[in-house]
């Protein structure tokens, strides 16, 4: 009785069922030529491993470690992980839906993530995150003076150098204490920046502006044209649905 090369190799690779295994072993016990074939395949395995294994003991090249630790990461993933961690069990991201549209609309509005000057947005500039749900509602309706105790809280409103109106926001503790900037484009509020924020102060009197993380201040500074909107300008902008 003979045995295929596939079966012999699968035997070596531990891929056979118990029955097949027993059959191969019975044949091996009875057939010296088959044992020699098996030994040849074992030598191939040994040779391949001997040739391949030394690399895993080499010191890692710095450039690879640097790339793993520093390369621009998918910001959609970061946003998703932040929001889905904050709201376990929810399938869809509650506040943000990721959409694609022409980069041209918002080119130039985009700022770096936190203090990192990574050019990650250039890797895929045609995709943006757009606020939805409670965040969209807050960005549309809330005034800085409202200071809701729960949910997204809007901070400073300002006109960006691109002419678009932008607002800072804070998602609050239930969403992992993230703060960011959203700008009102033709397709809704685009998330420009999202950074870690300090847990919101218990005091309802502290304004969002006062609690703004430094990274967010820097991002605002990079975007803003002139001074932030006053309370009156903010109300006026809301009446115009935040159109530039």
């Amino acid at each position: 009785m003979t045995i295929s090369e596939e079966t012999l190799i699968a035997y070596l690779d531990n891929e056979l069922s118990a029955d097949e295994r027993a059959r191969v072993e019975a044949l091996l016990a009875a057939d010296a030529a088959l044992r020699e074939r098996l030994r040849q395949h074992e030598r191939v395995i040994d040779a391949l491993r001997a040739a391949s294994d030394p690399v895993v003991h080499e010191a890692l090249p710095d450039r690879l470690v640097q790339t793993a630790m520093r390369a621009p990461a998918s910001w959609r993933w970061r946003l998703g992980s932040v929001l889905s961690r904050a709201l376990p069990g929810s399938q869809a991201l509650p506040y943000v839906r990721v959409v694609r549209y022409a980069a041209v609309l918002l080119a130039g509005v985009v700022v770096g993530w936190a203090a990192a000057n990574a050019p990650w947005r250039q890797s895929n500039p045609s995709t943006f995150a757009v606020a939805q749900g409670g965040l969209e509602q807050a960005l549309e309706q809330q005034l800085a003076a409202d200071l809701p105790k729960r949910g997204p809280r809007v901070g400073v409103s300002f006109k960006a150098q691109t002419g678009l109106l932008c607002r800072t926001f804070d998602l609050g503790a239930s969403s992992g204490n993230k703060a960011g900037i959203a700008c009102r484009g033709p397709n809704g509020w685009t998330i420009e920046t999202l950074v870690a924020a300090e847990p919101r102060a218990a005091s309802a009197y502290e304004t969002a502006a006062a609690a703004m993380p430094q990274a967010l201040r820097n991002a605002v500074d990079a975007l803003i044209a002139g001074a932030p909107l006053t309370a009156e300008q903010e109300r006026a902008a809301r009446r115009r649905s935040w159109r530039p």
């Binding site: 295929s4 090369e5 596939e6 190799i9 699968a10 690779d13 891929e15 040849q40 395949h41 030598r43 191939v44 395995i45 040779a47 391949l48 491993r49 001997a50 040739a51 391949s52 294994d53 030394p54 690399v55 895993v56 003991h57 080499e58 890692l60 090249p61 450039r63 690879l64 470690v65 790339t67 793993a68 630790m69 390369a71 621009p72 990461a73 998918s74 959609r76 993933w77 970061r78 998703g80 992980s81 961690r85 990721v98 990650w120 890797s123 895929n124 870690a196």
Partner: protein, 174 residues
């Protein structure tokens, strides 16, 4: 607070030795292999939203690395690269004869691997070198399991003819 991105980055670094080994099996030389790993890392991080958390990062990275290599091969029609230089590999043995013999065996193995068709080399790299199951290798290469079985058999028969047939058998030379 543990930053999930930081965790992923650390897991990627932990995967680097295996990724480099896999890339070396595919490309046949050290510098192309590290270039490939670097490209794979960059692409992985840029496309992290395509990775389903909870699924295995290593399978995803191996697949990505392999796909990238196939793209490279197709784009540049890279011929089987120069076999890995055995001089660059550190060997445990200090015995001169044995070491020379091991170097020869190594060079022969690398040359034999380089002669294999691309898809057979990938199957060998995943199953024999990386120790993956046929199922995992089939999923990763997106072929039926029977295809893996036959690629492995053809590749190993060819390798056996080259490696076991000539003088590259340390145990028998000494």
């Amino acid at each position: 607070m543990d930053d999930p991105l930081e965790t992923v980055r650390r897991n990627l670094v932990a995967l680097l030795p295996r990724l480099r080994r896999f890339a070396r099996s595919l490309t046949g030389n050290a510098s192309d292999a590290d270039d490939l790993v670097q490209d794979a890392l960059e692409r992985a991080l840029r496309n992290l939203h395509r990775w389903q958390p909870g699924t295995k990062l290593d399978s995803w990275m191996f697949r990505l690395t392999h796909n990238l290599w196939i793209d490279t091969v197709r784009a540049k029609r890279v011929r089987a690269a120069v076999p890995l230089d055995a001089d660059g590999v550190e060997l445990a043995s200090t015995d001169g004869v044995r070491e020379l013999d091991a170097r020869l065996a190594l060079a022969a193995t690398n040359a034999a691997m380089a002669k294999l068709p691309e898809e057979q080399r990938a199957a060998i790299a995943l199953v024999v070198v990386e120790g993956m199951s046929y199922r995992d290798a089939a999923d990763l290469l997106q072929v039926p399991i029977g295809t893996i079985t036959s690629r492995l058999a053809r590749a190993r028969t060819a390798l056996a003819a080259v490696l076991v047939g000539d003088g590259a058998k340390p145990s028998e030379v000494l």
